[in-house]
Amino acid sequence: MTGSFLKRNPSVPVVLGLLLLGTLAVAAMAASGGLSTSFVKTLGMTLCLALAALAMDLVWGYAGILSLGNIAFFALGGYMIGMWLMTARTEIIVAESLAGQAIPATPQEIRDAVGGQIFGVVGSADFPAIWAFSGSLPAQLALVVLVPSLLALVFGWLAFRSRVTGVYLSILTQAMTLALALYLFQNDAGLRGNNGLSGLQNLPGLSAVPQATVSLWFLWGSALALGLGYLLCAWVVSGKFGAILRGIRDNEARVRFLGYPVEGFKLAVFTLSAAITGIAGALYYPQAGIVNPAEMMPIASIYLAVWVAIGGRGRLYGAVIGAIAVSLISSFFTSGKLPDLDLGPVRLVWVDWWLVMLGFSFVLVTLLAPKGLGGLVDLWTQRRRPERHGADLGPDTGAFREKEAEA
């Protein structure tokens, strides 16, 4: 809590420097034709996932709340930007096709035609009420932050106020996510049901710009967002606010009896995490091209937690390392480029077996190396772990375990 920002956060210059160098290197290689556009997109998306993992670390690693709802905020961010992308691009296409008519189309006719185009797949032609602002980029950008934050605020207020903690809170957040996914699967929800929003990689008015260029824009955008997100999170966790969050994680009662409104702190960090995750989603889905409710299924929530766990929770760079490492390895195994292994009775299909391997490594990391990949940094900075004879650092369920901590 004392000392300069850099002294409190020695990882900041390292992470930002590596991020800049990495992005520059990728951009240079892509410009010289050494990298495919789809790979550049994969990298850009990976940076967005790292940002989401960072926000997950904020709630789980620092405040001890294992939120399985963050993936909902991620998808909602994607939906909010997707609504504008689809509307604006369809508007341009419709305007072009109607331009040849003798009598110019009225704005209402254009709006109806756009609605027919977008909602035809779900047997409707009208814009649902929630698309009211879809024609305005600033409005939808604001909603990228506001919708996830508001959901987090309302849900968090209800959950924290009744003092639900630990596993029950995790289950509750998972239930929220599942309920939202199931709701969005319905066509009546107004977000095109299981079709989701698609064609998001095509930026309105920029159809002349090749995807190779767009992918680089998004790579830089994602890197910038991750860098700023890292700075913000580092600032939040290294001050008194962060000290109180860690206090809540390890020993909530002590914080309460010091006079701090624990619920207020949880609500603040949960909402902040939702806002950051929403932004990450809004940058991710235009690169992915499509967002649909399947993105919010329980497996996705687990993924987020696994990245943070494998990276090492409670250290911001751990979340970044975990997300980048796991999702890159994951896309390597699931790319289909790896030849299947014929082992006689079983045939090792990597696309299928990768998840098994991931689950297995998750178990191994949790049991054997709770500090995760981030713990490798400790070898270099020579950080020691405390000798506590197996005792956790607090009575609460989210408390740091002996092996996660630093002496």
Binding site: G247, R256, F257
Partner: protein, 246 residues
Amino acid sequence: MNTLLEVSGVSVSFDGFRAINNLSFHMGAAELRAVIGPNGAGKTTFMDIVTGKTRPDKGTIRWGEKGISLLGLSEARIAREGVGRKFQKPTVFEDQTVRANLLVALRNRRGPFAALWWKPKPAELERVDALAETIGLAAHLDRKSGELSHGQKQWLEIGMLLAQEPKLLLVDEPAAGMTVAEREKTTAILVEAAKTRAVVVVEHDMEFVRRLNCRVTVLHEGSVLAEGSLDHVTSNKDVIDVYLGR
């Protein structure tokens, strides 16, 4: 003497078991009080009730000059009113340094946004140094508190309470698990603290209570059995029967 805390007719039951039974208790503004009683007498539960952790079934708790009711206030709100509490087991933030523990405890605005923008002022850092001196941890300010010995953690928790600047300090078995030398130091800290505020100490150890040299309340089965000087209560027949004679 003006009243700081007035507990009257408080009862609480857990699943039909009366842990506190029509308890009345009174504290002045700068008073040191020892509360003794056998295991299960309801000493910790009494603290739970005053600090808002447990809601009593009946009775009233009046606080301060205005006599506001503490019933129905949240734990955090009661703490902000000026009630500090030390738990039976030492509870400090083990993953954080001694300095951070004390800084977090320092009295100031408690909201999340105030915490976000908070920066230690030179006066606050000095105050932390002074507190560390008081509790004998000046040499350990930059160590993680999880590394401290059991006794040092108890002192740190007392230091955190002092940093909070409460009007009333509730201290639950501070000397448990301490060496003789540590106990003496703990006594000194508590006696010093009680010069400017009210302090209630729950303790088992008679020698410790004797050194506190203060008024003693004996709890038994959830109500007050006797009250007065240590010599007075230890010569009380009921007290000898239920507590000392065992």
